[in-house]
């Protein structure tokens, strides 16, 4: 699948790349084509340009030759007309063109020259057959002046008879002035070559360089490395036939146009070469510009490729990231699906369990209700049945509460209510709840505290209690009768000075759990099922709730267990230490500066010292009465002890006696507190002892403080006791809003049992209307259900509070609702209700609340 996707993406990228290549390919082809066309045109133009230049020079030279011939004819004519031709010739002074005139008379082999030397035609070579204007022209030669020259001969005729032959020598130097000074800006080479001898006879001014080959045609070929036989043959053929020839050949690694241009019918040649760049000066610029265009195109192309590459890479990366995200998402979805399926399966199992668990108490309720109807006349049976119905109902209620709790935690609606608490209060309340259960099952319940440095802490004490109760009640449930259960509070190393790190351990030596069950113990809707525990009733939600709460508090929970040996739960939690918790002044005011503790258990001693460290009150430890007495004596003369803490269970002696003896040893009577296990037999006996009390183990400073305050209060004043619970609700008149007829009837009956009467309305709207119509003070309180049709309890309360009656703001409104969470209570109070009471109605609680809020009561 992934491969296919990649393939598809690659398929998308390749056409784009091909398109770019195609576009640049076309552009390149166009540029190449234009460049070639330009090159061809420039080449043609170069050839034309050079041809025209050579033609011009050819024309010039031929014109000079022609003029020379014409002039020679004129001189011949002059000689013919002259009576003394020899003297005429001798008297001639050479000029820049004609450097020598010679005359040979008919029949003579030699003649005379203007130079004074004799002249013979044998010195000249007319064999090539070249002519100018009909006059034969000789082969070139080095003349008496040391320069290249040629001669033309012209018959001297008089009256139609030849009276001699006139030879005039011309020098090539004379042509120099008619030729360009520097051909093609000095870059071109130009020579005049005698066609017959192939000697280079003139190098015009400004032309020529050392390596050009200035001797003859062969030297020209050699110097310019023209070795190709076909070129040489072609040139030879052209020179022989008097034709012009141009050919390209590199001269000194530069492309050059070489030329052999026939003058005067091929008797002499203009030869040389022109570098192409010299002819096509503009061509260089054009080539340069084309080159620049090509470079720019190439750069643009490369840039496009680079951008394309980066774009593709980026796209690819984005795709990969998306792919990875999708995979993670899919994985999570799969996990969620699996979890949902598992949850669904668990819930199905749970529903099945619940069906059984709910039906069981319901069956009991309905069954006993039937029995109740039958045995209504038998008060004993009625009481018995009612008791059983009550038990089943309570079980059903706890079942429902747990379900609601789990759903609440799992949906994240639980908000921790962090407040200050003391470990003492927490352990006391848990102890109060668990110990009776353990005692009922004949089990021993031990509470131990060690290394805890702070007992005043910040946390949600209700939820912590819930954790402890869950764990401990399970321990009680799953431990056989006569077993042992330990609750340990162990202070761990603090990670931060602001937090107390505590490990709570709950251990039992009960049935234990299988390794398989341990894996799912914290999952919701699971419950250990075996023949032993089947007898135990439970929702199977307790551990899930516990784990959720622990994690909500940022802690961890761990369990280890062995079948038949028991289980150990470890809960690690961190609690914030409240600021300024230690009230040192309390100890000063209580005049307690030093305490003597008589305790044989080392752990307990260490615990006392640790906890008392922050109070600033030193605690001396004595392991026995004798040691205590010794210490008292040692401190005589110094500041003595202001309090005695004595272990109730002294190994050898009776604690009360020890207290008396120790107190006697002290200079003044000091308060004595006995440290006793919860429910220790005989502890109360110590109470008659003056200025003494019992402190339940484990030791806590807060408990000590409370006890001291209590003892101080006892010493200063008589305790006032209040009789509670003996009075009923006689004569009170309530308005109750309740849509459920049964609940309404129950409420009505309960209140009637207490001597109060109640007027029921079916919804909030009716309640508002009824209260509005009632005379002032008619109702002592309004009992308000929350979930009702037409108008709910909150709205009804707000409406009542909003009525313009004097008692509208005063009449107590008590919420009676199945919405039993803290948020519900807050909403109720916000709506204007005085108090929130969760259903089902606890008549004792209801009575207490009514008494609290109803003045008449």
């Amino acid at each position: 699948m992934k491969k296919k996707q990649n393939q598809r993406r690659a398929d998308k990228g390749i056409p784009l790349l091909l398109s770019i290549i195609l576009v640049f390919g076309i552009l390149g082809a166009v540029v190449f084509s234009v460049a070639r066309r330009l090159s061809a045109e420039m080449s043609a133009s170069a050839i034309q340009n050079l041809s025209e230049s050579l033609e011009l020079m050819k024309g010039t030279i031929e014109a000079i030759l022609l003029k020379e011939a014409e002039f020679q004819k004129m001189i011949a004519y002059e000689i013919a007309e002259n009576d003394r031709p020899v003297e005429f010739v001798r008297s001639y002074n050479r000029n820049q063109t004609m450097v020598k005139i010679s005359l040979v008379l008919p029949g003579e082999s030699s003649g005379i020259s203007n130079t004074g030397e004799s002249f013979s035609e044998d010195e000249l070579d007319f064999s090539a057959g070249g002519t100018v204007d009909g006059l034969p022209i000789s082969r070139s030669y080095i003349n008496y002046m040391g320069t290249w020259a040629y001669s033309m001969k012209c018959p001297v005729e008089k009256d139609g008879q030849e009276i001699g032959t006139l030879y005039i020598e011309y020098i090539y130097d004379s042509l120099d002035k008619s030729l360009p000074n520097g051909f093609y800006n000095g870059k071109a080479m130009l020579y005049i070559m005698d066609a017959t001898s192939e000697r280079l006879v003139l190098k015009p001014r400004g032309i020529g360089e050392r390596d050009a080959g200035h001797l003859n045609l062969e030297d020209f070929y050699r110097a310019n490395n023209i070795t190709e036989e076909y070129i040489r043959a072609e040139v030879a053929a052209c020179v022989k036939s008097g034709k012009n020839i141009l050919f390209y050949h590199d001269i000194r690694d530069k492309s050059a146009l070489n030329y052999m241009w026939a003058v005067n019918g091929g008797s002499i040649y203009l030869i040389g070469y022109v570098p192409v760049e010299a002819i096509q000066q503009e061509g260089k610029t054009v080539s340069h510009n084309i080159f620049m265009v090509v470079i720019i195109m190439l750069v643009a192309f490369l840039l496009c490729c680079v951008l394309f590459y980066f774009n593709q890479r980026q796209q690819s990366r984005i795709r990969q990231e998306r792919e990875a995200e999708r995979e993670i998402h899919n994985k999570r979805l799969a996990e969620a699906l699996q979890a949902a399926q598992m949850a669904n399966h668990s819930k199905t199992t749970f529903l099945s369990n619940m069906s059984h668990d709910i039906r069981t108490p319901m069956n009991a309720v309905l069954g006993f209700t039937t029995l109740l109807a039958r045995d209504a006349e038998n008060p004993e049976k009625v009481r018995e049945y009612t008791k059983k119905i009550m038990a089943s109902g309570n079980h059903l209620l706890s079942l429902i509460n747990d379900i609601l709790d789990v759903s609440k935690i799992e949906s994240g609606k639980v908000v921790l209510s962090v407040e200050e608490f003391t470990l003492n209060d927490m352990i006391s309340s848990v102890d109060a709840m668990i110990r009776p259960m353990a005692v009922a099952r004949g089990q021993s319940f031990y509470v131990e505290v060690s290394d805890v440095k702070h007992e005043y802490l910040m946390g949600d004490v209700t939820r912590i209690n819930q954790i402890l109760i869950n764990l401990l009640s399970n321990a009680v449930k799953y431990t056989q009768e006569g077993g042992k259960i330990w609750l340990r509070m162990i202070g761990l190393k603090q990670r931060s000075s602001q937090y107390e790190h505590i490990r709570i351990e709950v251990e039992d030596n009960g049935y234990g759990m299988t390794p398989e069950y341990l894996k799912t113990i914290f999952d919701a809707f699971t419950r250990a099922e075996n023949s032993t525990t089947n007898k135990v009733q439970g929702t199977g939600l307790g551990m899930a709730i516990t784990k959720n709460i622990v994690e909500l508090m940022g802690g961890t929970i761990d369990v280890s267990s062995q079948i038949g040996k028991g289980s150990l739960f470890k809960v690690d939690l961190e609690f914030r230490i409240p600021e300024g918790q230690m009230d040192r002044k309390f100890w000063e005011n209580s005049r307690i500066a030093r305490i003597l503790a008589v305790e044989h258990d080392e752990e307990v001693c260490k615990n006392i010292q640790t906890l008392m460290q922050d109070t600033g009150v030193p605690v001396d430890i004595a392991r026995s009465e004798a040691e205590a007495l010794k210490q008292i004596h040692e401190r005589s003369g110094k500041e003595g002890y202001h309090m005695l803490l004595i272990d109730w269970e002294q190994p050898d002696t009776e604690a009360a006696g020890t207290a008396e003896r120790l107190r006697a040893a002290l200079p003044e009577p000091v308060p004595v507190l006995f440290l006793a296990d919860s429910g220790a037999v005989g502890a109360e006996e110590a109470l008659p002892l003056e200025h003494a009390g019992v402190l339940t183990k484990p030791f806590f400073v807060s408990a000590l403080k409370e006890k001291l305050i209590e003892m101080q209060a006892e010493r200063t004043a008589e305790a006032k006791t209040e009789a509670v619970g003996s009075e009923n609700l006689q004569g009170l008149h309530f308005l109750a809003a309740e849509d459920n007829e049964i609940n309404a009837e129950i409420l009505s009956e309960i209140l009637a049992m207490e001597g109060a009467d109640c007027e029921i309305v079916e919804n909030g709207q009716l309640a508002v209307e009824r209260f509005a119509k009632a005379r002032e003070g008619e109702f002592d309180a309004i009992l308000m259900d929350v979930q009702m049709p037409v108008m709910n309890g909150y709205d009804a309360t707000r409406a009542i509070r909003g009525l313009e009656r004097r008692d509208a703001g005063e009449v107590p409104i008590i919420a009676m609702t199945a919405n039993a969470f803290a948020e519900d209570e807050k909403e109720a109070l916000d709506a204007g209700m005085n108090v929130h009471l969760a259903k089902p109605i606890d008549i004792v609680l209801l009575k207490r609340i009514i008494k609290q809020y109803v003045k008449k009561g």
């Binding site: 040391g146 020529g208 050392r210 390596d211 951008l307």
Partner: protein
């Protein structure tokens, strides 16, 4: 984070490209002002020219032959300073049957064809005697010349030519090969004969590579070793000029020695008669087929001659009774007495023969400068020759003070020897020349 950085990088690249494109666009759109408004005025003013006749074409600045370009560089110096152009006119004989460069030079000088000439010693003497050359004594550059140079170029008391270098000819010896055959460098003619014998016996067909120009050096070395180094030079020359002593008497031992070399097959006379200098015998010398050749000083420096041999090269003097003897000759620059551009030509000569130019020349070609103010180091191969020159031990190959021109005539007579003439016939030619000189 990474992506953002890449995006930023891409943006930078795009911005640079855009800026580049903008610059190109602006450059393309900006056109130069039409300052001339379409009117073009051509400067057709006449350029000053000095015509130089010499054996070589003008070289490009990047010419390969540095030995030659040294002269061009001094000419360039003059052109730049004077703002004129030195036009080169050249002649090279196509073959030995053609008119020689010297013949053409004579013709041209006599017909006043050029302004400045590069002349061989014989033509200097001839043209000087004919009064066709300007007296250069007044030039500033002449004041710095070595006395030897002045003597060699004076005709009838006039300094008619000045060289750019003192050309010392010597024997170029393949020292590696000599060492191989355990030969020491020859001092006397007998030594050389012995060396040639050993070399010949060891399979070297022609121990001495010769050309048609420079064999006379053997003759001069033997002929004038005593004349120039005996302390009576002026008197001996005067005796020759007066006919009191004969050139043939001086020349005979050298010619007989050459004849001996030819007869023993140490020199290939036929080949030598047709060989141009270096071009003929040079390749065999470089290929170590021929262990001995003769050449001029700077040939040991020049890339085109014997500058980079694959063996150890030593340049020594020619064998003589006084040991190794360098033969010094000078090609000089002369101005036509009736030169068309006389003043400009004198200025050119002042510059190209100034100490500055001569230093440039000497440094470029590693040659002996005619100026007494210019001294340059020589390469190790030239040390034997240089040592002799510093000892003032040498003979002149040309001397304008001798009535009979030496360099050219001896060269021609040696060619006759190569062509089969006897030593006596050659001596008769010297006698004839001396007779003619005495008539003038």
């Amino acid at each position: 984070m990474e992506r953002r950085r890449q995006k930023r990088g891409l943006k930078k690249i795009a911005a640079i490209c855009l800026a580049g494109a903008a610059v190109l666009l602006l450059a393309a759109c900006s056109g130069g002002k039409n300052e001339d408004q379409g009117i073009i005025i051509s400067d057709s003013g006449k350029r000053m020219i000095v015509n130089l006749f010499g054996p070589m074409e003008k070289s490009n600045p990047d010419a390969r032959n540095i030995a030659r370009s040294a002269f061009d560089r001094t000419v360039m110096m003059a052109e730049e300073k004077l703002g004129l152009t030195v036009e080169y006119r050249t002649y090279t004989a196509e073959n030995y049957q053609d008119k020689t460069y010297d013949d053409v030079t004579l013709d041209r000088a006599r017909n006043n064809m050029d302004d400045l000439y590069l002349l061989n010693p014989d033509t200097i003497q001839k043209l000087g005697e004919e009064g066709r050359l300007l007296d250069l004594s007044d030039l500033d550059c002449a004041k710095n010349l070595r006395e030897t140079v002045k003597i060699a170029n004076c005709v009838d008391g006039k300094l008619v030519a000045i060289p750019q270098e003192v050309v010392a000819h010597g024997l170029f010896v393949n020292k590696t090969l000599f060492d191989q055959y355990d030969l020491s460098l020859p001092e006397t003619p007998e030594d050389l004969l012995e060396c040639c014998r050993v070399l010949k016996e060891n399979g070297i067909e022609t121990p001495i590579g010769a050309n048609r120009w420079w064999l006379e050096n053997f003759v001069f070395a033997q002929a004038y070793a005593d004349l120039y180094n005996g302390g009576n030079t002026a008197a001996e020359i005067e005796a020759l000029n007066q006919g009191e002593s004969r050139y043939s008497d001086y020349m005979r031992p050298g010619f007989e020695f050459l004849q001996q070399l030819i007869d023993l097959g140490y020199i290939d006379a036929e080949a030598a008669y047709t060989y141009e200098a270096i071009e003929g015998e040079g390749p065999d010398f470089l290929a170590q087929k021929t262990p001995i050749v003769m050449a001029y000083w700077s040939a040991a420096n020049a890339d085109t001659a014997y500058g980079k041999p694959d063996f150890e090269l030593q340049v020594i003097g020619f064998p003589s009774s006084r040991g190794q003897m360098p033969v010094v000759s000078m090609t000089g620059y002369a101005i036509g007495a009736e030169a068309e551009h006389l003043e400009d030509t004198k200025k050119v000569l002042e510059i190209i023969l100034s100490d500055e130019a001569l230093l440039l020349y000497a440094e470029t070609n590693h040659v002996i400068s005619p100026s007494k103010n210019v001294e340059v180091e020589c390469i190790p191969a030239l040390k034997p020759l240089n040592d002799r020159l510093h000892e003032n031990v040498y003979v002149l190959g040309s001397n304008a003070g001798m009535k009979v021109e030496q360099w050219g005539n001896t060269c021609l007579i040696v060619r006759k020897l190569l062509n089969g003439a006897t030593v006596d016939e050659c001596m008769a030619e010297f006698d004839r020349l001396q007779e003619e000189s005495l008539k003038e």
